[in-house]
């Protein structure tokens, strides 16, 4: 377990955004710049929430009010805090850390936890991994400290309070003993009350009897201690779902051309194909993660309408995704690592190549996937019959990748036969449009109406077909009387009156008319 603490995240972010060339020397030039502090409102007071290296040397620390800080050092440079930007930065660093392990968790507000067990050998051991991490973070201009230990608790404690770069696996006890109790991630109140009775270091509580300690200070202290020592399991919640199938490749020279990226995607897909075949599954959602040399991480995901494992098909999806991204896909100085992960896998029964039949389905799925990858899955839809009698709710257009089978239309046909459903329009407006209508009161069809500024004289009408609103719901709406009307020029419309004159309470406005659809 590796705990990474970016101790000056907010100030580093501001310095990086001001300085177009962040470099290790930036810290050295700190003297020339005014000490930087970040302030935020706590209660009614403007207080310091973060300070940079120079400011902390002047004796400023988070928690001090801005007024006091200004009184001590009038020359400080105060910037308002921006928690969202800090979170975004932390998340982008977390994404970047995906190059080391897929299990990266954000330890808000300014830390990261990386589960590197089983991953370090890819870098040639933990020390090599640490060296790589060191080099890259230093280059990016962050102040940081980290530690590796067997448990989350111990790594965290060592990163925040121990000597930086600590490395203790299996020696958690000796590592923790000299550290202050607040390193156990317990509430400050508890730490303070422990300090009042003379328990200041973790070593002080290690061998104390457990029962009295729990009785007096609550179960938190011992639970955290157990977790840090590895007696109790502490789960790590990764920021991103961990893909069950992953293939990755690093490049000696960064790649930037689209063709190269697609070729790599295909090669990685070919590697995954074996693993997928062995398990008898196919991919339903695939993600291509590209690590840019400057630390940006680009994730491109594509969904499929059937379990897929053919490398050419997978490459085809990314062709469309890249085409859809167009200029937004900015390779910069190139990518130095690519990873293809299958996020959702589904069983994929082996299929025989038929003389006809199956191929057609496959072709159609391929088309749906391509269209969805380019235009977005929500724009490629199939109509499904729903269990409702209200026209706009009676059917729903759902992403084609998620719909299979007859989508409820067989049941709908049976229902239509049984109820002798009156004609339905060919096209239904997304929402009924209000019209000005002159109609016979109470139940007559409209004689003439105005829709989209054009006047229509009704020459024939059929109806009413009464459709009750959803009376069981508060927002069900009134009952509707639908009419099929034809105007002088032969246009046929589906109109309705929302509400009945019968139910009208004196003083209420008369029921309104709407146009809902058009017939051929």
């Amino acid at each position: 377990m590796l705990s990474l603490w970016l101790r000056r995240l907010s100030t580093d972010r501001i310095v990086r955004s001001r300085d177009s060339f962040p470099s290790p020397r930036a810290a050295g030039r700190g003297e020339e710049r005014a000490p930087l502090v970040v302030t935020g409102k706590r209660g009614n007071v403007e207080v310091l929430t973060a300070v940079d290296e120079a400011a902390s040397r002047l004796g400023l620390s988070p928690g001090l009010t801005l007024a006091q800080a200004r009184a001590m050092h009038p020359g400080i440079d105060a910037v308002a805090e921006d928690i969202e930007a800090d979170t975004a930065l932390l998340e982008s660093i977390a994404d970047w850390c995906l190059r080391y392990t897929p299990l990266v968790a954000c330890d808000a507000p300014d830390g990261l936890l990386l589960d590197i067990s089983g991953c370090s050998h890819l870098y040639g051991g933990e020390r090599a991994l640490v060296a790589d991490l060191n080099g890259r973070l230093e280059h990016a201009g962050f102040a940081y400290s980290f530690a590796i230990a067997g448990t989350i608790g111990a790594a965290w404690a060592a990163a925040h309070y121990g000597k930086p770069g600590g490395h203790a696996c299996g020696e958690e006890r000796t590592l923790l003993a000299p550290l202050p109790l607040s390193a156990l991630r317990i509430p400050p109140v508890t730490a303070a009350s422990l300090a009042r009775v003379g328990l200041k270091r973790i070593g002080d509580v290690l061998d104390l009897p457990r029962a009295p300690l729990t009785a007096r200070f609550g179960s938190d202290v011992l639970r955290q201690l157990d977790r840090a020592l590895g007696h109790e399991h502490e789960p790590l919640t990764p920021r991103l779902p961990v893909a069950p199938y992953v293939a990755e490749q690093r490049f000696a020279e960064p790649i930037a051309r689209e063709d190269d990226i697609l070729m790599v995607a295909r090669r990685l897909a070919r590697r995954l194909q074996l693993a997928l075949e062995r398990r008898g599954v196919g991919a339903r959602r695939i993600e291509l993660t590209l690590f840019r040399t400057d630390g940006m991480v680009r994730r491109i995901a594509a969904g499929t309408s059937r379990p897929l494992r053919d490398p050419d098909d997978i490459r085809g999806l990314f062709v469309e995704r890249l085409a859809a991204l167009a200029d937004a896909f900015d390779p910069g100085f190139g990518f130095d690592m690519a990873r293809l992960s299958v996020i959702v896998a589904e069983p994929c029964p082996p299929q025989q190549i038929g003389i006809g039949g199956g191929e057609d389905e496959t072709e159609l799925c391929r088309l749906i996937d391509r269209l969805s990858a380019r235009l977005g899955a929500r724009r490629v839809q199939r109509l499904t019959a729903q269990d409702s009698h209200i026209p706009e709710a009676a059917e729903a257009a759902l992403p084609a990748q998620a719909v299979n089978g007859d989508a409820g239309w067989t049941a709908f046909r049976r229902y239509r036969e049984e109820t002798a459903l009156s004609p339905r329009p060919l096209r239904l407006l997304t929402r009924p449009e209000p019209i000005e209508a002159v109609a016979e009161v109470p139940d007559g069809p409209p004689l003439r109406f105005r829709w989209r500024r054009a006047l229509h004289e009704v020459v024939a009408a059929e109806g009413p077909e009464r459709i009750e609103g959803a009376w069981w719901s508060e927002h069900g709406g009134p009952a509707r009387d639908y009419f099929r009307v034809e105007d002088k020029s032969g246009l046929r419309f589906w109109l309705f009156r929302a509400g009945l004159y019968r139910d009208l309470v004196p003083g209420d406005p008369a029921p309104a008319w709407f146009l809902h659809g058009t017939f051929a």
Binding site: T410, R424, R492
Partner: protein, 294 residues
Amino acid sequence: MGLVMNAQLRQHLLALQGTTRTAPGIENGFGVLPAVLPLGIAAIDTMLGGGLMRGALHEIAAPAEAHSAAATGFALGIAASWPGLSQPSTSCLLTLPEVVDARHKVYARAGWRPDPGAGHDGRRIVWIAEEMARAESGAPHGAGLDAFGLAPERLLTVTVSHRRDLLWGMEEALRCRAVNVVIGEMRPGKIDEIAVRRLSLAAGEGGALALLLRAAPAADSSTAATRWIVGTASSVIAHGPGAPRIAAHLVRNRRGPTGSWILEWSDSDERFVLATHAQPVAAPAFDRPHRQVA
């Protein structure tokens, strides 16, 4: 590799059955389809030289935006007339489409309706529409489509925000062997000539029918095989609106004369028929052989 072998195998089996290629035909992987799609209306089919040419682009425009439902209805009527026998059997792969067609009619007359969800040779329709066109004229309504003989489960609807995506999507769909009819719906406006030519070529490759549904008639030149202007016509009124009627004007025909007809939707046949008691709006201008061809 597998596909090539399959195609060869089919050819071989066709040869064994003693059937020959009906010229001109389109090989779509399931044997040879006739090159035209008959509308089933003799007056129109003769003018079109047997029916709407497959593997070609056809433009259907509404005279005004209010008439777009009629134009949609006409396009869907054409799409629904695509012969599709949904009984999955090996014989239907290898029999000539005429036979399939005849059997289909027999089934229909017997009142048996093939389950459109089953089988592999059913009609596949892709309807690509511009976002604004859909907002303006309404989204396809499954219950209404079903009454038009078009099973909603066979339909794939695609919404695009740009015209170039519309053309790209149509081209992709036309190149897909599993798709029979591609309908592209667009708002009034110009369309790139080269893109239209590409559509025609893509349709020719796959043998599918490409229908371009326009909200207003356009004057631009195009490579479309036929051009229609389709609006609504008053129905015969008796206790409410009668069977839907449309006025179809064939304004451009690469293979013959043009004409105008009033068509009526026949619920029993599930297709458009020539409206009874209705005279043609104008006498068809028969082709004059001495006429100079531009």
